[in-house]
């Protein structure tokens, strides 16, 4: 479907971008009224304090709605578990709310929900968390429950068994969805990691002692940050922190010393080396056959050596390539009008949506594009995705395209901070990398300062040499795929026989 009509549309679209505020299009009879003077975005102040036991407390006051979010960040996640125990961090965190020395799982749920609130616990790759969101006049009661689940979990066998069977059922359900399955496979195939939610074999192998050990080794005040956002004062937050977490002691032995950022958090495995990259080629193609799948999921994936953090003379800071990379991603696949969505959805109607994202680790990162299309067009979409990734390294991004894509990022950022939960998550993100919270204030300026040259350089250095993964009804698209990628080795596995530990 690459025809002249689409090229014409693209040119028109670029013109409109250039002149959006005072648009003069050929047939237009009216132009939109221009904006008035902008109002200032307020970035809230973060007040920090460290309790005697080493627990850091961070508070952001916001009074417009009588709600508070409390988020406890633990700076250990799935990166601290082995592939054979994939899912251990997430199970450990999830089990916190399933029973303490004085409360059963049902009592925990009843008591927090009686307050109208909720409590959630889980783990990501870099961190684990427990969050509470509740009306501000019920915060004290909610914190009683929150501290109990963090300090006194019992990890009863019957709760482990139930969570395990729930996780396995959930996995079986998700593995029937092409999009989930593609992400699941990519963790091992492209990034040499494992799925945070676990694999069937790993979940089955996790024992009570594994959970107790993971908890003992990772949950300690010195590795935690307690974040309050919303309708609460700094003084009250510190009082509650001391009252409910002041007696929390670090276990006698932890796997890592406190506050030592040189070996913390644990270094993640690193993807393909830059030197191995071939700028003109992808590395390989993997097809996962899911017969009768309603669509095919198509991804391009690349493990990067660029991490979120940079160590400069022992000082932790944001990696200088971080901001160029997120602006680049905004151009390529962040938001509705990004290039991938333009090419795949808007111009060709091949998908409901297409995008891309980085998953950051301390010293490396994972880059992935995502889209779903009818099985018939899977190979065509794979080509389109590759074209767009390559284009970033080959051609500069014009100012008329770049500036709006920066505003997409800063606009999203401002809106994320509007809710107490979004604000707490943004802070937790920084703390999980040991980055200073001043990054919140400099974010907009850092994004604005990215140049087209930086983006192109980043793309050249990092994006080539990745993998394509397609999950769908293989019989429908295999012939087309072979035709479009005649010199590539295409590996095929059946979804039903999938074993992540055997993917290389």
């Amino acid at each position: 479907m690459k025809n002249e009509k689409f090229k014409t549309l693209k040119v028109l679209s670029a013109l409109c971008i250039l002149h959006f505020a005072f648009l003069i299009c050929a047939k237009a009879q009216e132009t939109p009224p221009p904006p008035s003077a902008p109002k200032v975005v307020n970035i809230p102040a973060v007040k920090e304090k460290t309790l005697p036991n080493g627990l850091k407390v961070a508070v952001v006051e916001r009074k417009n709605v009588p709600l508070v979010t409390v988020r406890l960040l633990i700076k250990s996640g799935a990166s601290s578990e082995e592939m054979e125990k994939a899912g251990l961090a997430n199970m450990t965190a999830s089990l916190l709310t399933k029973g303490t020395k004085t409360r059963t799982a049902t009592q925990i749920a009843e008591q927090i929900e009686f307050l109208g609130g909720s409590i959630n616990a889980g783990a990501g790759w870099n961190d684990s968390f427990v969050t509470v969101n509740v009306m501000s006049d019920k915060l004290d009661a909610a914190m009683t429950i929150m501290s109990d689940v963090v300090l006194n979990p019992t990890f009863k066998q019957q709760e482990i068994d139930l969570l395990k069977s729930q996780s396995l059922d959930n996995l079986a359900y998700n593995l029937k969805q092409p999009g989930f399955l593609a992400n699941y496979v990519s963790s091992a195939y492209s990034f040499k990691e494992h799925p945070v939610g676990g694999t069937t074999a790993a979940l089955n192998s996790i024992k009570q002692q594994d959970i107790i050990d993971f908890h003992k080794n990772n949950f300690s005040p010195a590795r935690a940050v307690l974040i309050f956002t919303g309708d609460i004062t700094e003084a009250k937050a510190n009082l509650l922190a001391q009252k409910y977490f002041g007696k929390w002691k670090s276990p006698a032995k932890t796997i890592l010393g406190s506050g030592d950022s040189s070996n913390f958090p644990p270094k993640s495995p690193v993807g393909t080396k830059n030197s191995e990259q071939n700028l003109s080629k992808i590395r390989r193609i993997l097809v996962v056959d899911l017969p009768n799948s309603g669509q095919a999921a198509v991804k391009y994936l690349k493990g990067l050596e660029a991490g979120r953090v940079n160590y400069n003379g022992g000082k932790v800071g944001v990696n200088p390539v971080y901001y160029p990379s997120i602006v680049m991603n905004s151009v390529l696949g962040g938001g509705y009008s990004s290039r991938l969505n333009q090419e795949i959805r808007i111009k060709r109607g091949l998908s409901y949506g297409a995008g891309s994202a980085f998953s950051w680790r301390v010293e490396n990162s994972n880059f992935a594009t995502s889209t779903q299309t009818k099985n018939e067009s899977a190979a065509e979409v794979a080509e389109l995705v590759l074209d767009e990734v390559k284009k970033l390294a080959d051609k500069s991004v014009s100012a008329s395209e770049l500036n709006p894509r920066k505003l997409v990022l800063t606009g999203d950022f401002g809106r994320d901070l509007e809710t107490t939960q979004g604000l707490a998550a943004a802070l937790a993100d920084l703390y999980s990398f040991e980055l200073p919270v001043a990054e919140l204030n400099s974010y907009m300026k850092s994004v604005q300062g990215v140049s087209d040259a930086q983006i192109r350089e980043f793309a050249k250095q990092n994006l080539a040499g990745g993998d394509i993964i397609i999950v769908g009804d293989a019989k429908v698209f295999m012939d087309d795929l072979k035709k479009r990628f005649p010199n590539m080795k295409i590996e095929i596995v059946k979804a039903a026989d999938l074993d992540l530990s055997k993917l290389n």
């Binding site: 971008i17 939109p32 969101n133 059922d169 359900y173 509705y336 109607g349 009818k374 509007e418």
Partner: protein, 445 residues
Amino acid sequence: MRKFPAFLSMLVFAFVFSQSVFGQAKITPLNIKQRALPNGLKVVSLQDASSPTVSVHVWYNVGGKNDPQGRSGFAHLFEHMMFKSTKNMKSEMMDRLTEDVGGYNNASTWDDFTNYYEVIPSNYLETLLWAESDRMANLNVDDANFKSERDVVKEEYRQSVLAQPYGRFFEYISSLSYQTHPYKRGVIGNLDELNAATPQDANDFYKLFYRPDNAYLIVAGNFEQAQLDAWTDKYFGRLARPSGAIPRVTTVEPDRAQEKRQLTTAPNVPFPAVAITYLAPNSKSADIPALKIAETILSNGESSRLYQALVYKQQIAQEAVFSADVRVDKGLLYFYAIASEGKKPEELEKSLLAELKKIQTSPVAANELAKAKNQLITRTLQERETNDGKALAIERAVAYQGDPNAVNTDIQKLQAVTVADVQRVMKKYFTDKNRVVIYYRQEGK
């Protein structure tokens, strides 16, 4: 919905967006201002200077139930066309005016209405009022755009229905629960009827439903009242009020005469599922608040009755839900559960009905009622953290009560619900003959 992998008619989302809310704790009423223009456009505004943004919503009284005959899914397909060109705007210019300046836009089609909305830095308010008025009156539907966008909607259908193990299940809940009402067709439609749609259909549909006297403009956020009123007059006041009548759905879904049971199948279904549906009263019924409280008691959170019984104690389901899916005409009250490994749909049905019987025959505990009210207040407060959330709440008041003030009065009605009210409504609507039971499992098994 235009951008996200969900169109909001999907029953699974009904709970999240349920129209109710409230409790004992005080919620500050939203101080809304209302106006009506001579051309019939109604305007609701709500000032809030806590962020430098403003949310603009245009709500149209047209939804999936208004799809033309043989064109299921059309109202939603048409929603996508509203982002294409107008007399004064190129295709996708709404994105230039929102996304490109740090805002965003979207739209969603429901059974009963369609909304278009954007959140923008507040200094762009006039620009967006101009743009919304332009697409209310000056849309162009061209062939190429229509075909391309129809392909996008077909992919949306594949993604949300065909590529999800339980996508077809939720479509069956609508299609098998209604006998005559157009709600039975669902909002997303089907591939054949989407393929049959033409640009002419779009032009006809636009003329019938997209007019100032069939719309509400809702603005929430950082603006000056006098300036908003002046801009509204300037850009919307000049639109003509068409003379023809707006077609309305008059079909009344008949009461059910006897229990109906149906077995359905699909590919890639890992575990069987069961739905049990009952016809609900319409959204203005005085029984709705008590049904919303029952929904919360049965199904909100891990302490809820269905989670505790089917998921936690019996361990026969990985998910067990009750939803009061309230609509302008008779909606649906439905239970559904997805089995755990090795469990049978018969067990799910039996347990769901046992929980129903329990709430019908014994009064709910006073602390369960208080808990439900607290949960609903918290949810209301969460929604009110953003301008967009407040505008959405006003929209639901308009859609389901026909009155923006319901955004404040609905809360009082929920607050007044008693233990006896809950028991009464659970007996009234959940009768054997008002029941449809749907089994769903892997095909060929």
